[in-house]
Each structure stands twice: as C-alpha cells, then as structure tokens.
Symmetry: none
Subunit: 241 residues, 2 copies
Amino acid sequence: MTKSPAIILVRPQMGENIGAAARAMLNFGLTDMRVVAPRDGWPNPKAVAMASGAGRVLDEARVAESVAEAADQCDFLFATTARARDMKKDAYNPEEAMKMARKMGGQGRRVGILFGPERTGLENDDVARAQAVVTVPVNPEFPSLNLAQCVLLMGYEWSRGLADAAPPPETAPDHATVIEVERLADHWEERLETSGFFFPPEKAPHMKRQFRNFWSRMPVSRSDVQLLHGALRQLVRRPGG
Amino acid sequence: MTKSPAIILVRPQMGENIGAAARAMLNFGLTDMRVVAPRDGWPNPKAVAMASGAGRVLDEARVAESVAEAADQCDFLFATTARARDMKKDAYNPEEAMKMARKMGGQGRRVGILFGPERTGLENDDVARAQAVVTVPVNPEFPSLNLAQCVLLMGYEWSRGLADAAPPPETAPDHATVIEVERLADHWEERLETSGFFFPPEKAPHMKRQFRNFWSRMPVSRSDVQLLHGALRQLVRRPGG
C-alpha cells in the first residue's frame, strides 16, 4: 500500500483557501491535511463552508504550532515555492516531485509537502526544513497561483502517476471491420454510379478512388455503417417509388 | 510557432468562474478565450473583478451565441466531460489530449477545448460537435472539479509538454475546419430530413445527434467535404429534375 503524501498548510490566512485545498486534495484521493498556526484559529467556519463535501478532510486535519511539529512523522519534505531560491537545494517540477513521492510512498515512507501563506509564500526557515523544493512552471509574466490551485496540481500529479500503473478504461468504439467498410464503399459507389455522379467517364476512376480512400481513412464504427447504409437508401428513394 | 488552444466556455453561469478561468489560462500562457451565451451577459463585472491581473484575457475574449459560432476557426474540438459518456468518441486524459493539441498546434491547426456550464456540464449536443472527449481522472468518490480548476489542469498540461514539443514535420492533410464540417453535417441533415429519414419523429433528435457525432469524429479533409457535398446533391437529384 503506497503511503500518500501529507499536505501541510503553513500559516494559512483565508479559511476559504483551506476549504478549497481540502476539496482539491480529496479530488485526487489525498486526505492527510496538516495545518500549521492558521491565522484565524481552528476550526475555521469559512473553511468548513468552502470544503462542503470534503469536510472530513478538515475534521481529520492535524493542527500544529510549527512546521517541525506538523511534519514530525514525515520522512521527506518538499517545499513548494513560486520561484527557485538560492537555497542550494534540489528543485523539481510537480511531475518529478510526485514521482519521487510515489516511489518513497511505495517504500512505506511518508512524504510531506509544505505550502506557504497566501501572500508571502514559505519563509526561508520553512524551506530550510525541506529536503527538496518543488516549483510549478507557470507563465513568468503571470505566476499568481493560489494556494488551493497549487495543492490541486500536486494532487493531480500524485494521482496521475498512480493511475498509470493501471491503464485507464477507454471507451473503444465498436470499429467496423475492413469488409464492412468495403461493403459500405461498394454501396456508395453503386448509388453514386446510378445517380450519374461519376462524370465525365474519364474522371470516374479517380473519383471512385477518392471515395475508396475516404472510407478507408475514416474510423467508422459498426453503428455508423448501419446508419449510413440506411441514410443512403432513404436518400435515393423516389417519392412513391 | 505553435498555435495555442482556444478555451471555449459554454453557457458559463458565474462571473467569478469566468474570471478565475481567465487567471488559470494566463498562468499557463493561454490567452484565447471564447464565451458562448454567458448567463449574465457580457461584459461581466464579477468576472472582471476576479480576473484582476488577467483582465486582458477577458478584454480580448470573443462572445458567441452558439458553440458552432465560437468554434468557427477551430480545426479540432475537445469536449471536457466529468465522466465517459456513451458517445462512441475517443476519450483522453488531459496529458494525452494536450499532447495531441501541441502536435496539431505545431502543424498550424487551431484546437478548441469546450467547457460546460458549472452545474450541468456540456450537453450531449455540445459534445456531439467535438472530435474527442477529455476527462480529468479524479477520485470517483469526490469528482467535483470546478470550471476554473478544469481550465487550470488543461493549461498546466498544455504548457508542461510545450518545451519538448518540437513541431513534427508531418505531411498533414488539408483538414477541414470545424465550421466546414458543421456545414457538411447541416447539409446532410437537411437532405435526410427532406427524404423522410428521421422517422419516427420521437427518434429524430437521437438520430440527428448520432449523425452529428459521426461527422465530428471523422478526420475529414477539405476535399472530402467538397466531394461529399457534391455526392449528396447528386444523390437527391430527381431524374429530369
């Protein structure tokens, strides 16, 4: 059983953002929230209101006074920062970081991810406690990701790689067989021939080939084939015929 | 120059979400927003307030009355849906979809991504206009992504692979645009209507949607479109008519 990362909100300010972070976590199956010195105390009614269906993440959240206390059972900490800092620390993008987190989680190690306060981000002293830094590569001209969005992207990357283990079920259309497509093309050719479409005669071979090419390129399903046979029959039906 | 995808918000309800979507777009360098029939009209003061630094995305947004109008210069449409639907359409996760979008963008093709209204998501008739479906793999027990979060994840996936997306030199066929395919589907619908194909009347909407789905799924080229218009006209021509 792979251990999921803990989401550690450091000195969060707005209850709404805490609630939105809880939702973002649960969207991707994360449930271990830890809150360090929330500005407006705990529990936070605005957080609860915003979390709605993800209230249980808040109910089970651990509140701590310091980063060290919140992270006490973690084996590895990532610090999220908006930009690389001169911390002489390895920096990763979310994909790389969550790949590492899954690997460590699979070894039974607990990873924590630190998220800073909304306005200022993590302080250098917080970042100093982390083993590595993770930064979302955003548009440098508009880098303003909010707290819950940052949590969302980490959760997304965490779960994205988990899902890769089991290939996602794909809604495969019921592809028509080659012979079914061939018959459909035959039907079209007959009807078009009868209607005088292949004119003038010297161009007919090219036009027919173009139609064959068309049908063989199209990813038609069995129900498409039936639909098109039916449509074709109906189109050429003469009134009262 | 890789063409960036257009973000098409279909009948969005809350101005705040439109503004948040604009921010999410700009976070990842996307600027082409199109808004179909916004519930509260346009411009929307709440959207402007929420967008703050991303206001120019709203200023430059195109407002349209229908999906077809909003997508008129798109070459390929993705429809975002919360779950796979029985639409017989290829379904992708955001990574796969945005990889395709980068490839098409590198060939100079314009991709559009449809996002549905907050409460209900896209209607089947909207999805029917798209060539493929994209679904974010969320926790099935808590799948509630909001509009701006969904835009954020698409933007993230778009920009994530952009660095290593060298435009592959490919002999791209002269793909028909969305509006050309739309007109072809219209033509078919008219002719089939006239011929009495959509019978009985209570089944007509389903049959029409099946045809829309068919055309939007097919990778038709411009010359295919011309060929099929011509074939259709010829098929229904009455002898001596």
